[in-house]
């Protein structure tokens, strides 16, 4: 009766001993820390839930691409796991009107994972599919952190594993792409990548039995197959693994086990991977995958050379192999098979190609990342990364060689494309952890006073006393804390924290807002899609710039003409033309898509309201909506200038090449010229702005809200719904988002033509 809680706990734990289970204090602490890290990994990703519909328990997805994945997942849940691919490819008619979008070109790993897991979770109760898809990335990211813990543990012990898991859990690039609603390819991608690295490294471990090695190879093959069928960046890890094996051969570390592991892993992965419809057998002869075959040949050669054969035979073998490889490359090059590398991946290797491709460059996540991005990502942790590289280099075991190649190549690619920082994140996490513990371990050993050998081995350690070691550890601790908790490079708030204060794009009204002061979601876009759902037929086409295509089709339940998949550059150029041409040019183009279905056009604009005097407020475009994106509309449509002229949509004199045809940049901002003022995009944007101002003035007497410009109303586009019209001017720090939907007045247009 008088037993205290502590005693009861002690008695309960000692019960383990009866079963022969011995748990050390170290293990308990490590497990507790790991659980805490995983808990942090999940919760920090789910914090944006505060802006979702908590009473209904539902959440939207973030950004735009995830809706594409969601569309396929929903189809799989409704029609079966293979339904987008088999028996016939599913053409989603609500996207990319009039052709539709071939959904069988979607990589299946993410929607299939979600479908299967949704099936399992549904056994326990009902959950909204979109909400499930929104929270799934957080759990998959936590799983990736768990696997990284094991990789780190294999490389440098539990402490390194724990730190690596923590660093990955809060790595800004990874966090951003796996937080609430980021239901996209990176999620299975990173999971597949770390799982592959973990299993592949273990399969090569010569200390393990051959049987274990075989099992790990099979696992590595399966995880690589998952990665291939989950994320296009699989090219990278395949290339990296081939390069790693090749380097091992060069370092004379070839072993039979290497050949077996390599063959099983890549054989299995490519066999499964090529079964994915979008990938197919052509994948095997793509430039990025061919090195796998070349390295396989090198391994076979190495195996043959290992045996006792004559010099003459060796020379013949080497010559024959070289002829085969060179001949094979020339043959593939001549037949054009080598050109199948996707443009995006070539631009990673050579970013300067991108300057000529506005469509690729207009996507922010594919932009070149400057050193600033790397510094914002790593902060002063870069110091530990470099120290870690030094320690890794000093001890070139097979694992460390892999780590070095992984870190240096992924850093190179990350500097080439912003979104690839997410590949670099796991490499950074492990190496920085090695750096920290490489630095701290001798001091800890000194502090404990148990390191006689160490003192002997490192004569300089004699100069350092126990007390000094304590100080050194504190300094390292402060350095880590400054980086993780205060993040000097991002104004004192670590991006891990600011990310948790950022709502999903649609719940944040596609505005750059967030933070603790944003108490509720910004319902502008939600109102717009709800209005479309209620008032517009699903077969009706709503024209909008491609960014919003998925929101229109997947949330608004209407047919869109373009979206983030950007599969049809010609159609995107046409949409650019529709917005940049004058009303007659634009309607001629719209008419070519069929007046029966194309009924609406919409713009998204963000206004700024600034007080000029007590009774006068100035209103002007902020630049976050189409008033900023029209530049890309002009540039992308400008690339197809000749086609528009040839097809008779515009005269050579009226055609444009880029935005400079529509005005010029002056000190106060953009100054439209006559052509710019008559462009459809400016007509609609200005109409939305003016409508908002008049609506405010109707509600606030004696106060003038003055638009920066007031154009004549459009002839053929009639505003039928303005989402955000009743937004208070200062509700979101002076920013006012508006989604304006216009009906196309075909009868008026036809009467005039």
């Amino acid at each position: 009766m008088g037993e205290t809680f502590k005693e009861r706990l002690g008695n309960s734990l000692s019960g383990f001993n009866r079963f022969g289970i011995q748990i050390s204090h170290g293990t308990i602490i490590a497990v507790a820390a790991l659980v805490l890290i995983l808990f942090i990994a999940v919760t920090i990703r789910l914090l944006p839930l505060r802006w979702e519909n908590l009473t209904a328990g539902t959440s939207y997805l973030n950004e735009f691409d995830p809706y594409y994945q969601f569309s396929a997942t929903k189809h799989m849940v409704d029609n079966g796991l293979l339904s987008p691919y088999y028996p016939t490819p599913w053409i989603n008619a609500m996207k990319w009107y009039p052709v539709g979008l071939d959904m069988s070109s979607l990589l299946p790993a993410l929607p299939m994972t979600a479908t299967i897991l949704y099936g399992v979770v549904s056994l326990f109760g009902n959950i909204d599919l979109m909400t499930f898809c929104a929270i799934l990335p957080a759990f998959m990211a936590a799983l990736s952190c768990l696997i990284l813990y094991f990789i780190g543990k294999d490389m440098g012990g539990k402490a390194v594993g724990l730190s690596a898991a923590l660093f990955l859990a809060i790595a800004p690039s990874f966090l951003q792409r796996s937080s609430l609603g980021f239901f996209d390819t990176e999620v299975p991608g990173v999971l597949g990548m770390v799982l592959f690295i973990f299993l592949f490294m273990r399969s090569m471990d010569s200390k393990r039995s051959l049987k274990a090695s075989l099992i790990y190879s099979l696992g590595a093959g399966l995880s690589l197959a998952y990665f291939i069928s989950g994320w296009g960046a699989a090219y990278y890890i395949i290339g990296l693994a081939s390069l790693f094996v090749f380097v091992l051969v060069l370092l004379k570390r070839y072993s039979q086990r290497l050949l077996i592991t390599y063959s099983i892993t890549f054989g299995l992965a490519l066999m499964i991977g090529t079964k994915v419809p979008y990938i197919g057998l052509n994948y095997l002869v793509s430039g990025a995958i061919l090195p796998v075959a070349a390295v396989f040949l090198v391994l076979i050669l190495a195996e043959l050379m290992r045996n006792n054969i004559t010099i003459k035979s060796k020379l013949t073998l080497v010559s024959a192999s070289m002829v085969a490889v060179i001949g094979g490359f020339i043959g593939l090059w001549l037949t054009g098979s080598l050109s199948s590398l996707a443009g995006k991946f070539i631009t990673v290797l050579n970013p300067f190609i991108r300057a000529s491709s506005p469509l690729v460059d207009s996507v922010a996540e594919q932009r070149l990342s400057g050193w600033g991005n790397i510094y914002i990502e790593l902060g002063i942790g870069i110091l530990f990364f470099l120290v870690g590289l030094y320690f890794t280099l000093r001890n070139p075991t097979n694992r460390n060689i892999f780590l070095l190649l992984f870190a240096t190549t992924s850093l190179y690619f990350a500097t080439s494309m912003v979104r690839l920082l997410v590949i670099f994140a796991p490499a950074y996490a492990i190496i920085a952890a090695i750096g920290i513990f490489g630095t701290i371990t001798p001091f800890v050993a000194l502090l404990k006073g148990t390191s006689k050998n160490l003192v002997k081995a490192k004569r300089k350690m004699l100069r350092v006393s126990r007390e000094y070691s304590g100080l050194a550890i504190i300094i390292i601790f402060v350095l880590i804390v400054s980086n993780l908790a205060f993040s000097p490079q991002s104004g004192g708030m670590p991006r891990a924290v600011s990310q948790a204060y950022t709502p999903t794009a649609i719940s944040g009204g596609s505005l750059p807002v967030g933070g603790a002061n944003l108490n509720a979601n910004i319902p502008v876009w939600l109102d717009a899609v709800n209005w479309l759902q209620t008032n517009v037929e699903s077969t009706d086409v709503v024209v909008m710039w491609w960014d919003y295509g998925n929101w229109l089709s997947d949330l608004g339940n209407v047919t869109s003409m373009a979206d983030n998949t950007t599969v049809n550059g010609t159609q995107i150029a046409n949409i650019g033309f529709i917005y940049m041409g004058n009303e007659n040019q634009s309607l001629a183009m719209l008419s070519s898509y069929g007046q029966k279905n194309v009924k609406y056009i919409a713009v998204f604009t963000v206004l700024v309201v600034q007080q000029q005097s007590e009774t006068v407020y100035n209103v002007y475009p902020a630049g976050y909506g189409d008033e900023g994106k029209w530049v890309w509309m002009a540039r992308i449509s400008g690339q197809d200038k000749q086609r528009f002229i040839d097809q008779g949509f515009i005269s050579a004199a009226d055609a444009w090449t880029n935005e400079t045809a529509f005005g010029e940049q002056v000190s106060g901002g953009w100054q439209w010229n006559d052509r710019g003022l008559s462009s459809v995009v400016e007509l609609l944007l200005n109409d939305a702005e003016v409508t908002y101002c008049y609506n405010l003035m109707a509600n606030f007497e004696d106060v003038t809200f003055a638009p920066d410009l007031e154009l004549e109303p459009s002839q053929y586009f009639k505003g039928i719904y303005y989402a955000g019209l009743y937004t208070s001017p200062f509700q979101y720090g002076g920013l006012v988002p508006l989604v304006a939907i216009y009906e196309i007045q075909w009868d008026l247009y036809n009467a005039a033509h």
Partner: protein, 286 residues
């Protein structure tokens, strides 16, 4: 308590605790964090000078510690401060810092983007190393940088950042001069990093350059002697006074065939640094 090393210029070479500069690192970091929190509560800024300086000081401390531990080779020591330039480059870009330097007689030289990517890293690398190289006598490595910092503080809009750290450093300097402690590599690297970072943050490049001329002269002599003659500067100690037979550093020039006590040498060099600091201030006021 601390590791002890022999004081070369004392009779009997008594063992003196070394590496107390680590306390400066900790004190300065805590002080700058407090300044940062105070500033954020009064006037929040997207990027903070106090924080940037704190990070640079931590960098300096870390490097010094690594040096104390693994005795870094000079080629690593010379280039490691480049990493510490990152927060400064970022800060300078974020606040849209002036990219020009106004040189006396020459006028204004605008470096444009090269200021961020070449000049700032060079300032950090050179200053940290030259400050680290002027040492070896009790008080020399602590008093001279303190004079430079004091000179910079007079013109700096961010002088508050250095009030606490300078006072703390002066306390260490008092003990250092009296031969009771050494600041160690941790101290000398950190104070060098402090000087460089504070000057960049305060936009006092010319003051910094003129104040540091004695340091630069000293390092140039040491490097030239090492590369051209292949010999290092050394002084002999007869139990009372220091004397040098060659002129391969600032200390050996002063003591060349002119025996002086350690205190006298430190005083002379401190006066020289003080004069150049005043000269820097004078030129700035012109």
């Amino acid at each position: 308590m601390f590791p002890r090393v022999p004081d070369q210029h004392k009779v009997g070479r008594p063992l003196i605790p070394n590496g107390l500069g680590a306390f400066y690192v900790l004190f300065t970091t805590v002080y700058l964090f407090l300044v940062y929190f105070w500033q954020q509560s009064v006037n929040p800024e997207p990027i903070s000078a106090a924080f940037t300086l704190a990070v640079c000081v931590l960098f300096g401390g870390f490097m010094g510690m690594m040096d104390d531990w693994i005795d870094l080779k000079w080629r690593y020591k010379a280039f490691m401060p480049l990493i510490a330039a990152l927060p400064l480059i970022y800060y300078a870009q974020a606040i849209d810092a002036r990219t020009s330097i106004t040189l006396p007689l020459v006028g204004m030289v605008d470096f444009g983007i090269a200021y961020f990517y070449i000049i700032i890293p060079l300032i950090v690398m050179i200053v940290t190393n030259v400050v680290n190289q002027l040492g070896g006598l009790n008080g020399l490595e602590s008093i001279c940088p303190a004079i430079v910092i004091a000179g910079l503080m007079v013109f700096s809009p961010n002088y508050m950042l250095m009030v606490g750290p300078l006072l703390f450093w002066l306390i260490l300097a008092v003990f250092n001069v009296s031969g009771k402690i050494f600041v160690g590599n941790t101290g000398s690297f950190t104070i060098g990093m402090t000087v460089a970072s504070f000057a960049v943050i305060s936009d006092l490049k010319v003051n910094l350059f003129i104040s540091l001329l004695p340091f630069i002269f000293n390092s140039a002599l040491i490097l030239l002697s090492a590369f051209l003659i292949g010999k290092k500067a050394s002084v002999t100690f007869d139990g009372k006074k220091l004397c040098a037979n060659s002129r391969k550093s600032l200390v050996t020039i002063i003591t060349y065939r002119r025996p002086l006590t350690e205190r006298q040498v430190v005083l002379i060099i401190s006066l020289i640094v003080g004069l150049f600091t005043l000269l820097g201030a004078f030129i700035r006021m012109l």
